[in-house]
């Protein structure tokens, strides 16, 4: 059916900041949707609060709003833009919920906006537990039985009716806390009592346990003519009980019979029809009892999801693009399959490889969080790998997630040695068994230990319920490892000596050179030479949607060990862009944005772009972002293989964050041409000693510092420069293991931690500048001309990681004098390092002095934000500069100072880690960012707070408790709050200071000393905002309790005095005038000169 003509303008809602559970996948689907709609001639309006996305690039949509995602703002945009339809299925749960509430509040009806892609009815049916239950019962599909109890008696009745085992979940308890599994009547009674008490609303969900069942997912699409296709099946390696976003997943499903498969397909068709999706896609999750095949439905997502992004990358089918076309009335047979160019989208893709998805966790960032996986998602990122068998895909997957592992163990990094495993005592066996049976981020490695310690498949299955088929594949790797070890060298200098066939088999099963070198006790480069000489060179195979049946046009490759290479590299001039790998704290969508821009720039310059990345969520791994895409791990071996096949003129390492930067030196040593700033300069910036020499040479200032390897050295340095000091490892990302240390005792502890992270690299000790203002500067250079992109001022004081700090562009408190000093320093650094491409410098300003904290000769996290605020695509220009263009020719020679103000605020995953302290420090903890943009600082700041999810109050009660040194500053804040009509509550210390200044505040007792205390008031909803600055480096326990409770009850909070100041000024502004909305295109309209 032809596309709908009654619709002209479509509003697309993005998913907002990157948080656990909602990451780049929605930038990927949203960008595809924008492109698909424009292709069909519709006008598009886009709203998203996340400035780091490709979708918010001006040019993706006709009108782009970077504004908070809430009903108020969306209503304003709808009133202003008057779209005919809203497409809510691409913005994750956020987009879907917003559309639902816009409908509920009558906004859609008032402005005559239709929800396309998923009707409001369909959303309600999938999201409302009762409607869903009823719908599934009507088509005869089981859901896990459950009931809600408010008393033990009620719970006992429900539980006994359902039968054991039972899962108990107290309502409104964060992250599944207070949940339990009851196996018998006695346990049920005990857990019910505990759970009802733990729940703030004294409710508990009693549910049939499907723990250990197989978890099977399908990606389903349906058009308005009722054509239904299955894009792919997926099987979770981790069975039910682990959130699918945390599970290892394979595609296609590996252990289903054709009959079971047909049943699932049949159920999927019934479900998508019943839910009523008639122009879009859905993800359907099932649980299946492995002992009898019984199936229950777990969930339906009537929208694009993380799984659909994975399915797209796994099969080559652009689900978001197709779903968008279906939403505007086209049918599947009318939408071409762009990969084959011959078939249509009415086709079920089939694969001739195995896809493996594995998650990246960051428990190391939250040392007090329990290191277990359950039904509340904790992964911050994921990697996908492709192989011709499961073993190869798994080993590639493990080395893709960048946890410094090079495969399924056997890489010299195993915590438990073979020797220990051979002679394992019962304590060790118990430890291993525990780690196999309770899901955690290291379970795979513990399965290996279990296999090596002699546990049988059946034993491991009984502990983990991971299907024996997967376990046996792991066992095969362990057996192979043993076989390879027979050929171990006596001396590491010896030539590796391994039979050709065994080597070929090992490579085919995904063993990396690092693993082989370890097992053979040989040098990695010698192993590399050996298999290059023999026939075990990797070849590249196509992801073609059809298992070879049609000749694919899209060059999308994975490596494997086979006989024929399908890469067919072109003779064109080409450049390889190294991506950032899996998202993690410190490295995420911002870098993917830059990589995409590199590809766009190369296209404009007529150079073929070759993308290497392994993150299935991203736009960079979309099939049409680059000319050629290699879905591969970002390790030296995997990248060198691609370079040898493609023979590019150079490699771009500046854009993928720290991952490619860390590879720059070894790539250069292997003779690879690194484009842009030389790897020599990269090394100067990363190596503290060389860096210090440069700073001295340029006559610039740096906090006193030293480079050390041991605690003794550290102590000496710290005594010399004086406490407090900042301790950090070199060559790391996001301030990993970075700490402010006030005395020798703590120094010892952190040196130990830092040396674990740093490895062979030294540890850095800097003088910590208390209460300094931090500044971030982004710069672009071509070796001759250097231009500052933006100077950003941190809102929090020094000591908060720049990735976590809120920032303002332009600066808002610095004097012209200081700004001049910053500019001068930045330009002299750029000239000295001969920057070709991008550079980021971090400064601290204290007592009118400008100190240099850090120089990164690469794209920084703020590049997308700066680009959007000043209206200049910095990453694109940087790419062109790296190819030899000059900034002069590109028309960008002068710093642009925006007339409007943009504030970046960070978003944190604290709600996933119950009980952790929300205090900010030098170690980065945020997963994403939002931007508030407006005419003045206060409005922009308050927008950023609202966008970050803070429910900014206009009245009510504020609790204030601050550290002694903040007490003077808090007076004006408290006064203003009082003047604005807020009631103040305070701790006794803070209250007495306020009292002395004639600001009345109600004193609340310490948590242990009386009730009602602050926790009680928060629980009762009587506190609308909390200002609490930490009392010292080791926070008092009641402070931690207060700060973790604000997360539980979603109460706006600030933990820094500067943040509090900005917030209160913002509230004042917010009370005076409503938020207004303005598109990026409007902000940039005034600009005269055109940047090429």
């Amino acid at each position: 059916m032809p596309r709908r003509k009654d619709i002209k303008k479509v509003l697309i809602i993005g998913s907002g900041p990157i948080v656990i559970g909602q990451a780049c996948e929605f930038d990927y689907s949203g960008s595809q949707a924008c492109k698909a709609l424009r292709e069909e001639g519709y006008r598009t309006v886009l709203v998203n609060s996340n400035p780091a996305t490709i979708m918010t690039d001006p040019g993706m949509a006709d009108v782009t709003y970077i504004e908070p995602l809430n009903i108020e703002v969306l209503t304003k945009i709808i009133a202003k833009e008057k779209p005919d339809a809203i497409l809510p299925t691409l913005g994750g749960q956020t987009g879907l919920n917003l559309a639902f509430f816009l409908m509920k509040e009558g906004v859609l009806k008032k402005y005559g906006v239709e929800s396309i892609g998923s009707s409001v009815g369909a959303i309600a049916c999938a999201e409302d537990r009762d409607l869903f239950k009823k719908a599934m019962q009507e088509i005869g599909i089981d859901i896990p039985k459950s009931g809600i109890a408010t008393t033990v008696k009620e719970g006992m009745k429900i539980g006994l009716d359902i039968g054991f085992p039972l899962i108990l979940r107290p309502a409104y308890c964060l992250g599944g806390s207070g949940g339990a599994i009851a196996y018998n009547k006695e346990e049920l009674e005990v857990f019910l009592a505990k759970g009802i008490e733990a729940s703030p609303v004294h409710q508990i969900l009693v549910e049939q346990s499907v723990l250990g069942w197989k978890e099977i997912e399908f990606e389903v699409m349906r058009d308005c003519a009722d054509n239904v296709i299955m894009v792919t099946s997926m099987e979770n390696v981790d069975p039910m009980g682990v959130h699918t976003g945390d599970s290892i997943v394979v595609a296609p499903a590996q252990t289903l019979t054709p009959e079971e498969y047909a049943n699932f397909v049949n159920l999927c068709r019934k479900i998508i029809r019943k839910i009523g999706i008639s122009g879009g896609g859905a993800n359907i999750q099932f649980g299946q009892n492995p002992d009898n095949g019984k199936i229950v439905i777990i969930e339906v997502n009537p929208r694009l999801s993380r799984s659909s992004a994975l399915a797209s990358k796994a099969t080559g089918i652009p689900i978001a693009r197709i779903a968008t076309k279906l939403a505007i009335g086209l049918t599947l047979p009318e939408v071409m399959n762009q990969v084959t160019g011959k078939t249509t989208s009415f086709f079920e893709p089939t694969v001739d490889y195995c896809v493996f998805k594995i998650c990246r966790f960051t428990f190391e960032k939250f040392p007090y969080a329990e290191r277990v996986l359950n039904t509340s998602m904790k992964a911050v990122g994921e990697a996908m790998s492709i192989g011709r068998n499961f073993k190869e895909a798994m080993q590639k997957g493990i080395r893709s997630i960048e946890i410094k592992r090079y495969g399924f163990g056997a890489d010299g990094k195993d915590k438990i040695s073979d020797e220990m495993l051979k002679n394992a005592d019962s304590a060790l066996i118990k430890q291993i068994k525990d780690r196999v049976s309770v899901p955690n981020d290291e379970r795979l490695f513990y399965i290996r230990y279990a296999l090596k310690a002699g546990l049988s498949l059946d034993e491991i299955y009984a502990l983990s319920h991971i299907d024996r088929w997967f376990l046996d594949n792991m066992k095969q790797l362990v057996e192979q490892e043993e076989e390879i070890k027979h050929y171990k060298n006596k001396k590491i200098e010896d030539e590796p000596n391994i039979p050709q066939e065994l080597l070929a088999q090992a490579k085919a099963d995904g063993f990396s050179d690092v693993q082989l070198a370890f097992l053979l006790n040989a040098k990695e480069e010698k192993v590399r030479k050996l298999h290059k000489k023999s026939n075990s060179k990797p070849v590249y195979k196509l992801v073609d949607t059809c298992a070879g049946e049609f000749n694919a046009r899209q060059p999308y490759f994975y490596s494997t060990q086979e006989t024929k290479d399908e890469a067919r590299p072109s003779k064109n001039k080409k450049v390889i862009i190294l991506g950032g790998g899996p998202n993690r704290i410190g490295q995420g969508i911002e870098f993917d944005y830059c990589c995409c821009h590199a590809a766009y720039a190369l296209k404009e310059e007529g150079v073929d772009s070759i993308m290497v990345n392994c993150n299935p969520e991203t736009v960079s791994t979309d099939y049409d972002t680059s000319d050629r895409l290699y879905f591969e791990p970002l390790t030296f071996e995997d990248i060198m293989n691609i370079i040898e096949t493609e023979k590019p003129i150079g490699v771009i390492v500046q854009f993928g964050g720290q991952t490619p930067i860390n590879l720059a030196v070894s790539l250069r040593e292997a003779g690879v041409n690194i484009l842009g700033t030389s790897s020599e300069s990269i090394d100067i910036a990363e190596d503290r000693k060389r860096f210090k020499q440069m700073i001295d040479k340029l006559g610039l200032l740096q906090p006193k510092s030293g480079t050390v390897f041991t605690f003794e050295e550290a102590q000496k340095v710290a005594n010399d420069i004086g406490y407090p000091v900042l301790v950090r490892p070199s060559y790391v990302l996001g301030g990993r293991a970075m700490e402010i240390v006030y005395d020798a005792e703590l120094l010892e502890r952190f040196i130990k931690e830092a040396s674990e992270v740093s490895g062979e690299h030294p540890i850095l000790i800097d003088k910590f500048l208390e209460d300094a203002i931090e500044i971030d500067v982004d710069l672009i250079g071509d070796g001759e001309t250097f231009v500052i992109g933006g100077i950003m001022e941190h809102i929090e004081q020094a000591g908060v990681h720049s990735g976590d700090a809120a920032m303002s562009l332009p600066t808002y408190t610095l004097s012209p004098d200081i700004l001049e000093k910053i500019r001068k320093a930045t330009y002299s650094l750029a000239r000295e390092l001969n920057i070709i491409g991008l550079m980021n410098v971090q400064y601290a300003v204290k007592d009118a002095k400008v100190y240099i904290l850090e120089v990164n000769p690469r794209a920084s996290r703020t590049v997308p934000l700066v680009s959007k605020v000043i209206g200049v695509p910095l990453a694109k220009l940087a790419t062109k500069v790296m190819l030899g263009k000059k900034l002069k020719d590109l028309g960008f020679t002068e710093e642009l100072i925006p007339q409007h103000v943009a504030v970046k605020e960070s978003v944190f995953p604290f709600n996933r880690f119950p009980g952790v302290d929300v205090m900010l420090g030098p170690e980065m903890k945020s997963t994403g960012e939002v931007m508030g943009i407006d005419a003045d600082f206060s409005s922009a700041y308050i927008k950023s707070q609202i966008a970050a999810g803070q429910k900014i109050p206009k009245k009510g009660n504020v609790f204030i408790s601050v550290h002694d040194r903040d007490k003077r500053d808090v007076i004006s804040i408290a006064k203003k709050l009082k003047d604005l009509g807020f009631n103040l509550f305070a701790s006794s210390g803070t209250a007495s200071v306020l009292e002395k200044n004639n600001i009345p505040a109600k004193v609340l007792p310490k948590i242990t000393e009386g009730r009602p205390n602050i926790l009680d008031l928060m629980k009762d909803g009587k506190i609308q905002m909390v200002i609490n600055t930490p009392s010292g480096r080791i926070p008092r326990q009641d402070e931690v309790k207060i700060r973790s409770q604000v997360i539980l009850y979603n109460i706006p909070y600030t933990t820094t005095i500067f943040g509090a100041q900005a917030t209160v000024n913002g509230i004042e502004m917010f009370m005076k005038k409503d938020l207004s909305v303005k598109s990026l295109q409007e902000y940039h309209k005034v600009k005269g000169k055109k940047i090429k």
């Binding site: 059916m1 058009d223 003519a225 009722d226 054509n227 239904v228 296609p252 590996q254 252990t255 289903l256 019979t257 054709p258 009959e259 079971e260 498969y261 047909a262 049943n263 699932f264 397909v265 049949n266 068709r269 492995p290 002992d291 009898n292 095949g293 049918t331 599947l332 047979p333 011959k342 078939t343 249509t344 009415f346 086709f347 079920e348 893709p349 089939t350 694969v351 001739d352 490889y353 195995c354 011709r388 068998n389 499961f390 498949l457 299907d467 024996r468 088929w469 046996d472 095969q476 195979k541 059809c546 298992a547 070879g548 049946e549 049609f550 000749n551 086979e562 006989t563 024929k564 399908e566």
Partner: protein, 359 residues
């Protein structure tokens, strides 16, 4: 032991095998991810060397209930990797043991992707698998020799030796040119008793049991015995409602004077889109054929309509004639799980004048 697959154009692939043997046949691809047991026991694949493009085979084992017939009919099975264990609660034995028990020849460990792309580019090729000699030249010669010999019909071996009756209910005649258990099960679910006739049954023999309608099963394409089958059933056309399935459909076409056209690469897999003329609603179907009915010739048959075609290459997949009371489907009308019946069989039931509760 070491094995080799050699194609008639001289291209060869090294592999491994558990059995010391040699086999010969047309090399065909199937792109389905699951269904190996059904494929190798489907008589429609008799005499073929079957290459599975999905690389991991045997994961869920085998069970007698998934057999399409009692025998393994393919002359050789070619896979990338066989699973050494099987994991599914329904499985009774692993694929390797199953093959051993049926004395079936399989090879593994070769680059099936490259083989698939080669066949796509070169069109239908014959091949030989051997463990006896790895000499490519000799084996190519052998292919040429065997190809020269007249082809023997497999129908006598495949078909029931004499009439067989299954189930209770109104009578339906099933002409067995390679019928699968899957089809029989669906027909039984529809509520019919089935008179299964050998491939060479005459029209008179079929009419003698007074069936309500006739089903011509699927079976091996291009078998030399099929010509006679077409002649045998020709007198029945228009007399009784009839459905031809896959090769059975080709037999019907041939009885109507419609020829076959060979495809460069057969349709073999579970993901083929079907479009219906004059409708946006199609269907994803299972297909397993290397030839298609000649569209132009079909158009010339009076009262006959092509009701559906393959959306990828627009070849005819479904024919219907009200006046001749017949339906023909080139695809395999498989069940959508457990007790489900494919819509075309439901349609056939309507053609027989029976009401359908299940439709």
């Amino acid at each position: 032991m070491k094995a080799i697959l050699v194609l008639e154009d001289g291209k060869s692939f090294n592999a491994n095998s558990d059995l010391n043997s040699e086999c010969f046949g047309e090399v065909i691809l199937n792109t389905a991810v699951v269904g190996y047991q059904e494929m190798i026991t489907d008589p429609a694949n008799a005499g073929k060397i079957l290459v599975l493009t999905y690389p991991l085979i045997g994961n869920y084992g085998t069970a007698p209930k998934f057999n399409e017939s009692l025998k393994v009919w393919v002359s050789g099975l070619v896979v990338k990797e066989t699973s050494r264990i099987y994991s599914n609660f329904q499985a009774k034995s692993g694929l390797s043991d199953f093959l051993k028990e049926k004395n079936a020849f399989a090879i593994r460990g070769l680059d099936t992707r490259t083989l698939a792309v080669h066949l796509r580019e070169k069109g239908p090729l014959w091949g030989i698998i051997s463990t006896k000699t790895l000499d490519v030249k000799k084996l190519v010669e052998k292919i040429n020799q065997i190809k020269k010999q007249p082809e023997q019909s497999l129908l006598p071996e495949i078909s029931v030796p004499k009439q067989k009756i299954l189930g209770k209910g109104e009578k339906l005649a099933v002409l067995d040119i390679g019928v699968t258990n899957g089809l029989l099960k669906q027909l039984e679910t529809l509520g019919y008793s089935l008179n299964i006739f050998p491939y060479n049954a005459s029209a008179r023999q079929i009419l003698s049991v007074n069936p309500k309608g006739i089903v011509i099963s699927s079976g091996p394409e291009n078998d030399p015995g099929l010509k006679q089958v077409a002649l045998n059933i020709k007198p029945l056309i228009g007399k009784l409602p009839m459905i031809g399935i896959a090769t059975g459909c080709q037999v019907l076409a041939s009885a109507l004077g419609v020829g076959l056209i060979r495809l460069k690469l057969g349709h073999r897999g579970v993901n083929y889109p079907l479009a219906r003329t004059g409708s946006f609603k199609g269907e994803i179907t299972v297909q397993n054929h290397g030839c298609v009915m000649d569209y132009d010739a079909l158009c010339k048959v009076k009262g006959l309509k092509v009701t559906a075609y393959n959306l990828n290459d627009h070849t005819p997949e479904e024919i219907e004639s009200k006046s001749l009371k017949l339906i023909g489907v080139q695809y395999n009308p498989v069940s959508a799980g457990f007790d489900q019946v494919n819509p075309i069989l439901v349609k056939f039931k309507k053609l027989l004048g029976d009401k359908c509760a299940k439709a």
